[in-house]
Symmetry: C2
Amino acid sequence: MKDDAIKPTGTQSIARAAAVLRALALRSQSGARMADIARETGLERPTAHRILQGLIAEGMATQNEGTRRYYLGPFIYELGLLAEPRFHLREIAGQAVAFLAEQTGDTVFLAVRGGNDALCIERKAGSFPIKAFTVEVGSRMPLGIGCGGIAMLAALPEEEAASILKFNAPRLAEYGDVTATQLAELVAAARGRGYAINPHRAPGIAAVGMAVRHADGGLAGSISIAAIENRLPSERIEKIAPMLRAEIRKIEKMLRAS
Amino acid sequence: MKDDAIKPTGTQSIARAAAVLRALALRSQSGARMADIARETGLERPTAHRILQGLIAEGMATQNEGTRRYYLGPFIYELGLLAEPRFHLREIAGQAVAFLAEQTGDTVFLAVRGGNDALCIERKAGSFPIKAFTVEVGSRMPLGIGCGGIAMLAALPEEEAASILKFNAPRLAEYGDVTATQLAELVAAARGRGYAINPHRAPGIAAVGMAVRHADGGLAGSISIAAIENRLPSERIEKIAPMLRAEIRKIEKMLRAS
DNA sequence: CTTGACATGTCCATATTATGGACTATTAAT
DNA sequence: ATTAATAGTCCATAATATGGACATGTCAAG
């Protein structure tokens, strides 16, 4: 998130509060304990506690009274709704996703990054009768699971991608028997060729995906195409990839213009 | 947003940063100048500038180099996506919105508050052939314009509602010739009867709306029903209001359980 | 029931950060 | 060209945020 520009001074509290929000984001489903937050942010417990109380007072965090766990608060949701139009990837990319589904006949997914997860925000089915509905719109899974996630990891700085894979390693068991090492290889291969191939997203399913970037080069999201394995041999992937790249170029141009 | 609980100490910087984010939220479409932010937050300009630089460093704000204006940043969007499931009003309320559209035959809207605006996040048309599509999904307008906005204002503390109406007063001209005084009267009337009636949302259109609350009593959003004027005489409004209230009670119960 | 481990939460002397008046630079309006 | 408005910087110091020490609460083990 931080660029290489000169860091501002007198903003330690803001940086610390943002770090706490990132810790909450990582556990936005399960909720975070204060001990988790203190450990992940490197803050002393009284400091973490005070920052949490400050965020709660502003509506940016909430605490479940029963479990004592902390969550992102309603003001974050509200701000997110207002921020959405400036990053309205769903609207801008929706046509491209529909076009790719029509042209390929397969299922096309649009995803964005959410912390260490990928969030599916759009899906279009193609005409081919066997649909690879591997992901529901609105769902989330660790970055690396799914071709879109691999493509997004490949678009991130290597250290950041490695850190995410390390964080996600214990979580992979919920999604099959793929290992972090295998995912690291898929990410490296994706970096090399410019697009991700996931040959074993699920048994019998294969996928190809590519990242979408903001004007400043930052990661905006990804588009991926999934089909039954025998519909995606190497030759067809090599035909689909340029089509995907062309649509993504158009999306990136519109993101630049907005 | 702030409750009446004891305010935490040692969190002035967080409160100030949140105030800056609110100022950015108010102008999330047009962008905010630093002078705007300093004035609205009451901060001295060097302080406002430094806080903005801190938020930019964390990805919570961005600055357009050409216009110099500041906007909510990509990290806010990402956090908003992660916060959404805990406040997934669209999912929880979707069935109620569809049911009300089916039962009344008219158009039903679901909206949330976004700063001083109302954001339409869901719309269902009923079977009656004349549709009151006064608002597009995804659109926003000042709170007070539209029945859902009036209902949300009525659910807020009176001072907060007055402050929002004051802020929105100069903006009303874009939406017809209704005045802030008229809106204040509609809000007061809504507070009295427990639901909002907007007899002149647009020429020939009338609407009825009600707020949805979170478990803690805070405002979650609103549901409103719009139709051509002669389809909503007083007698019919008195039949629709209990139905609306019953559906909203169900939604609030599910919000509590989630 | 008791004990120990772990976690949450509070206090306040003081270390350190954040502040904002004074100033410079840039842009827009006249 | 001049003036007004706005953006942005600097740094002495005001005042905020810190975290070690401690209190309290919860839960699992014995």
